[in-house]
Each structure stands twice: as structure tokens, then as C-alpha cells.
């Protein structure tokens, strides 16, 4: 038990360390020098660097030191939460990310929960009778939806919900230049305003996720149909719905929770793109503007934090695995 736990921790620590090392070595090993590129030596420099800004960047990266001492100070900076200095915004990257994190996180959470709930239900409906018409229709629809890039779904919803019907705003995370007044009611009104703005982006990610969850749940459900305990429950004359909810669902928990964890990386990538379509001021917007300005520290921090976040969730999922599986739970 303890050995398993230590082995798990060791594996994820090794993965996390490799992410940090990739992040450190990528800009140093790839061709091209970010500083030269953005300092105005080339014609296509996006943001000409002043001498002082360049000095600040060189100092931050310790570019004149030997590579091992660069790595050492990089690790030291990371431990103290220093993620670098944004070239285009002249602000610490950590602060920029903290500002925008709530937008992306709320999109991620809402859409993940929605898509897990709806997708699991649809997948069970489809997989309960494998090969029947309902299964075939639901699965080919999910297969198509899961393959369409998120930004196309986003454009579709934007055209339908904001341009055509004009029920939702065209862009932005909230109504700007508005005086919400004072008191507790202003807080509620502002919250509603934000929810109104986030409906279409969240629906985009939820739609993409529903398809993915439905495909996986369908396969898991279809695989259960010949399990002895399910046949036994059916032979006892239990209501099909009761069998599905009380017997099948708990047995499907381990693979579904694993998939929930795996999905995070995909949803995160999707959120980054969808934020651009709807101009939501989250991490995706930050990343998009960083691409245009060749703001490497921002992109490096986005890669580092998203990778570590995904690894953390995968770790928690694996940790919860023994508790989830009804079979293994009763062994103890």
C-alpha cells in the first residue's frame, strides 16, 4: 500500500521534473535567440526592446552564466513563484496569469461538469443496447461533434446565439464601462452579467466535451452488458433504470473518472482557442496576444502551469482509484 503510494508519487514527480526541464531547455536548444528577435535587430521585431528592458531580461535569464548555474537560478525562481517578466506588457508574468486565471478556470469547471453529466447519461443510453438504432444515431453524431475543432463550434454558436438571435453578447467577459451601483444587489447583477457573457463559450466547450464523454461511456456501458452481476440483477426482475443507476454506474466510475482527468488537457486547449472567438479576458486571450508580440516568458509560463496542472489532476485521479472501484473496495 505505502509502496504503491511512494511509487506513484515518484512517477509523477519525475514527470513534473521533466516538464520543468523541457521548459528550461526548449528556448536554449531550439534555433533562434528570442532576445535578438525581439530587440529590433531583425526587421520583423514585434516589440522593439529598449536597452534597459533588454538588460532586465538578460539579468532574469542569467544568459551569460554557464548553463548549470542558469538552471539552478531558474529552479530557484520557480520555487519562489517568479515566472519571469512579460516582454510586451512590462509586468511580472505571475501577476498577469493570476489576473486571468478566474475566467479560464470558471469556463473549465462549468463545461467539464456539464459535459461529464450529460455525456455520461447519453453514453449510457446509447450503450445500454449496443448496436440498436439509438446507439448508432447517438454515436455517429458524437463522433462527428468530437472531431470538429472547438473554434468552429464556437463560431457556430456565436453566429446562432449572438449574431442571428442576438440573445447573447458578441464578445467580452462582462459589460465594460458600467456603473453597477453599490450594495449587495450590484454584486448579483454583475454576476448575472458575467454568466450571460460566459454562456456561449461554456456551451461550446460543453458540447465538445459531451461528445467525448458520450463516446467513452458508451463503450464502457456496452462492455458491461454481459457481466454476470448485471445478468443476475436483470434475472431478479429489477427495473432497468435501477440497474443502470444503482449497479452499472458505480462499476463504471474508475474508467470514467480516469477519463475526466485525461480530458482536462483537451478542455484546456479548447478553452484557450474559444476565448479568442468570444474575446474572454482569460489565459487564452493572454496567450493569443503573447503569440502576436512574441512574448516568450508568457507562453513558457502558460505551458509550464497548464502541464503541471494536468499532471496534478492525473495524480489525484490515480490516487482516488482504489477507493472508486467497488471490487477492490470490498477486498479490504
Amino acid at each position: 500500500m505505502l509502496r504503491d503510494f511512494l511509487w506513484l508519487c515518484g512517477r509523477y514527480l519525475a514527470l513534473a521534473l521533466s516538464v520543468v526541464l523541457v521548459n528550461f531547455f526548449l528556448p536554449r536548444l531550439l534555433p533562434g535567440d528570442p532576445l535578438d528577435f525581439s530587440s529590433g535587430d531583425g526587421l520583423d521585431a514585434a516589440v522593439p526592446l529598449t536597452a534597459s528592458a533588454r538588460a532586465e531580461l538578460e539579468a532574469y535569464y542569467h544568459l551569460d552564466d554557464p548553463i548549470l548555474s542558469q538552471l539552478w537560478s531558474y529552479l530557484g525562481d520557480l520555487v519562489t513563484g517568479d515566472l519571469g517578466f512579460s516582454i510586451s506588457r512590462s509586468a511580472p508574468v505571475g501577476d498577469l496569469i493570476l489576473d486571468r486565471l478566474p475566467w479560464t478556470m470558471s469556463l473549465l469547471l462549468v463545461s467539464l461538469l456539464l459535459s461529464a453529466a450529460i455525456g455520461t447519461a447519453l453514453g449510457m443510453v446509447a450503450g445500454w443496447r449496443p448496436g440498436k438504432r439509438r446507439d448508432r444515431v447517438l454515436m455517429s453524431a458524437s463522433g462527428m461533434l468530437a472531431a470538429i475543432p472547438e473554434f468552429l463550434i464556437a463560431i457556430g454558436l456565436l453566429l446562432g446565439g449572438a449574431v442571428g438571435l442576438a440573445w447573447f453578447p458578441l464578445f467580452g467577459g462582462e459589460t465594460v464601462f458600467t456603473d453597477w451601483g453599490g450594495g449587495p444587489s450590484s454584486f448579483v447583477r454583475r454576476a448575472f452579467d458575467i454568466a450571460w457573457h460566459l454562456t456561449l463559450p461554456a456551451a461550446t466547450l460543453a458540447l465538445a466535451g459531451v461528445a467525448a464523454f458520450a463516446l467513452v461511456t458508451r463503450d464502457v456501458t456496452a462492455g458491461l452488458q454481459h457481466e454476470p452481476w448485471l445478468v443476475a440483477a436483470r434475472a431478479k426482475g429489477l427495473d432497468e433504470r435501477q440497474i443502470a443507476v444503482r449497479h452499472a454506474l458505480p462499476n463504471m466510475a474508475p474508467p470514467l473518472v480516469t477519463f475526466f482527468g485525461l480530458r482536462l488537457g483537451g478542455v484546456l486547449s479548447g478553452a484557450l482557442v474559444v476565448e479568442r472567438v468570444f474575446s474572454i479576458p482569460g489565459l487564452g486571450q493572454l496567450g493569443f496576444q503573447a503569440i502576436g508580440a512574441r512574448d516568450y516568458p508568457v507562453l513558457q509560463a502558460l505551458f509550464l502551469l497548464s502541464s503541471l496542472g494536468v499532471l496534478l489532476v492525473a495524480f489525484l485521479v490515480e490516487l482516488s482509484y482504489p477507493r472508486l472501484d467497488p471490487g477492490r473496495r470490498s477486498d479490504r
Binding site: 514527470l15 521533466s18 516538464v19 526548449l26 528556448p27 531550439l30 534555433p31 533562434g32 449496443p130 448496436g131 454515436m139 455517429s140 458524437s142 463522433g143 462527428m144 468530437a146 472531431a147 470538429i148 475543432p149 472547438e150 473554434f151 468552429l152 463560431i155 453566429l159 449572438a162 449574431v163 464578445f171 467525448a212 463516446l215 467513452v216 458508451r218 463503450d219 456496452a222 462492455g223 477519463f259 485525461l262 480530458r263 488537457g265 483537451g266 484546456l268 486547449s269 479548447g270 484557450l272 482557442v273 479568442r276 472567438v277 496567450g287 493569443f288 503573447a290 503569440i291 502576436g292 512574441r294 516568450y296 507562453l299 502558460l302 505551458f303 497548464s306 502541464s307 494536468v310 499532471l311
Partner: protein, 288 residues
């Protein structure tokens, strides 16, 4: 021959259509896609069947040339990625000493969210077509490397390999004559899925401003359109948004339908075959 669903043939026809458009692009395009020829943002006319963009360039010609650049990227990425999947999978399945290292690398690549990594690398080395193809090809092999390795490990302990070895066959001979053919069943699914991944990724990256260099592409057309904050207040917006959107969706759906007809798709009765499951995994992680 097994009867294939109607959608498989529709997908095949669509793919064939896109390939012919790509090959014949210079002949089919009515205008030079880069030349500002008419009033900007004009609605369709007889001369410009899909109207013009904000620079006065012909949208139909851009769409046709975009087919070519999309397919060049998609096919090159598929070739690189497939070769890598098979090399790594065969090596990890057959050479025990390499197995730990190769599968560790595979796990690391599968665990990382791919978009932030691609954004970082492409911004560092510059988003040219070659770089785009290399980055997508080098990042999309892990899923099928696992599939190939699993098949090889299954085949390695099979009687026919044992018989071949007892006859004194070399490792190279066994790999090429027995293990490689055993994995070829998975090849069509891999080709279709990776092509879809490449179209998906290329369009998404171009939409984020990391298009294939100077090439005209569908994602890039949408990127240009969405750069305009007043896009939807312009009467011509449908001509800027809809043609590239429909083109990307049609190409991707064509790969879905062809993939479904190969037997690994969502229409299989029970998703328990090796091919079905591995294919599903790639679709679901929306990318790799």
C-alpha cells in the same frame, strides 16, 4: 468485400474532391489569391463568386489555394507521424532494453496538454510551413506507438514467431517478415486519424495566428476575419466567415466518415477491438 456504410463513400468522394481541388488549384482559382482586385468587403458578384475580403482579395481563390496548403500540411504530418509511430512501436515492442525509455517518452508526451507546448515551440522557432509540419509530426506519434507496441508484444510470443526463431531467423528478419505485417491492420485507421488531427491542429493554430508561414489557409482566413472588431456589423461578414468554416468542417467530417467505414469508428457494435479502442482514444483527446 464487406458492405460499407453510405457515409463512408460520401467521405471518400469528399476527400477525393478536396485532393483534386488541391492539385488543380492554380487552374481552378479564378484570380490570384493575393492580389487586391476589387473593392474590399464586397458581396458576391459574377466576377467574385464569394465576394472579397478586407483587402479586396478574391475569397473563392483563397479558399481553393487554402485547400492545397491544408492538404500539404496534413499529408506531410501524417507521413512523419506514422513512420515515427511504427519505428518507436516496433523498437519498444521488440528491443527490451529500449522499452522503458521509449514508453516513458510516450507517456510524457501523452500526458502534456499539446496546444500550449505547440504554441511555445512555434513562437520560438517561427511558424513556417516546415516548422509546423515538423512540430505536429513529432508530437502526434505516441498514441499509435502504444498500439503498435501492444500488437508486437502479442505477436512476439505467438507460435509462428517462435517457430521462425527456432529455425534460426535473425531479429531483423523476424521484425520485417512477421512483426511488421501483424501491425499493418492498424495502418488505415492511423492514417485517417492523423490526417484529421493535422487538419484540426493546422486550422486551430492558424486561427491563433500561427499559420503555415506565408501560405494562404482556411484557419488563417478566419484569423484575418476575426481580427476586425466590427466584423459582425459589416454586411459582408457571412462571406468572410462561412466559406472557410464550412471547408474545414467538411474536410474533417470526410475523415470521420471514412474512418467510421474502416471498422474502428463509432458504428462498431462493441468497442472492444484493438483498432476501435485506439481510434476512439485519439478522437476523444481531440487531437492526439
Amino acid at each position: 468485400m464487406r458492405r460499407r456504410p453510405l457515409l463512408f463513400w460520401l467521405g471518400t468522394a469528399l476527400l477525393a474532391g478536396f485532393v483534386s481541388i488541391a492539385i488543380l488549384a492554380p487552374v481552378l482559382a479564378p484570380h490570384d489569391p493575393r492580389q487586391p482586385l476589387a473593392l474590399p468587403l464586397s458581396a458576391p458578384t459574377r466576377d467574385h463568386l464569394l465576394g472579397t475580403n478586407d483587402l479586396g482579395q478574391d475569397i473563392l481563390s483563397q479558399l481553393i489555394h487554402g485547400t492545397r496548403s491544408t492538404l500539404i500540411v496534413a499529408l506531410s504530418v501524417t507521413a512523419i507521424s506514422t513512420a515515427l509511430s511504427w519505428i518507436v512501436g516496433l523498437a519498444a515492442g521488440f528491443i527490451r532494453r529500449l522499452e522503458g525509455l521509449l514508453m516513458g517518452l510516450t507517456d510524457l508526451l501523452l500526458a502534456l496538454p499539446d496546444l500550449p507546448l505547440i504554441l511555445l515551440v512555434l513562437t520560438l522557432i517561427g511558424a513556417t510551413r516546415i516548422n509546423l509540419i515538423l512540430v505536429l509530426g513529432l508530437l502526434s506519434w505516441p498514441a499509435f506507438a502504444r498500439v503498435v507496441r501492444a500488437i508486437v508484444i502479442g505477436a512476439r510470443i505467438s507460435p509462428y514467431v517462435e517457430a521462425s526463431r527456432s529455425l534460426g531467423a535473425s531479429d531483423a528478419h523476424i521484425t520485417m517478415r512477421h512483426l511488421l505485417p501483424a501491425t499493418l491492420d492498424a495502418l488505415p485507421t492511423k492514417l485517417v486519424l492523423t490526417m484529421r488531427y493535422a487538419v484540426f491542429a493546422e486550422a486551430t493554430l492558424a486561427f491563433l495566428g500561427l499559420g503555415a508561414g506565408e501560405a494562404i489557409g482556411w484557419g488563417g482566413m478566419l484569423n484575418e476575419a476575426f481580427r476586425d472588431p466590427l466584423l459582425f456589423s459589416r454586411p459582408a461578414w457571412p462571406w468572410l466567415v462561412l466559406p472557410p468554416t464550412i471547408a474545414i468542417a467538411a474536410l474533417i467530417l470526410a475523415t470521420v466518415w471514412v474512418g467510421g467505414g474502416l471498422g474502428g469508428g463509432p458504428t462498431t457494435r462493441r468497442g472492444t477491438t484493438q483498432r476501435g479502442n485506439s481510434g476512439r482514444q485519439m478522437v476523444i483527446s481531440r487531437g492526439d
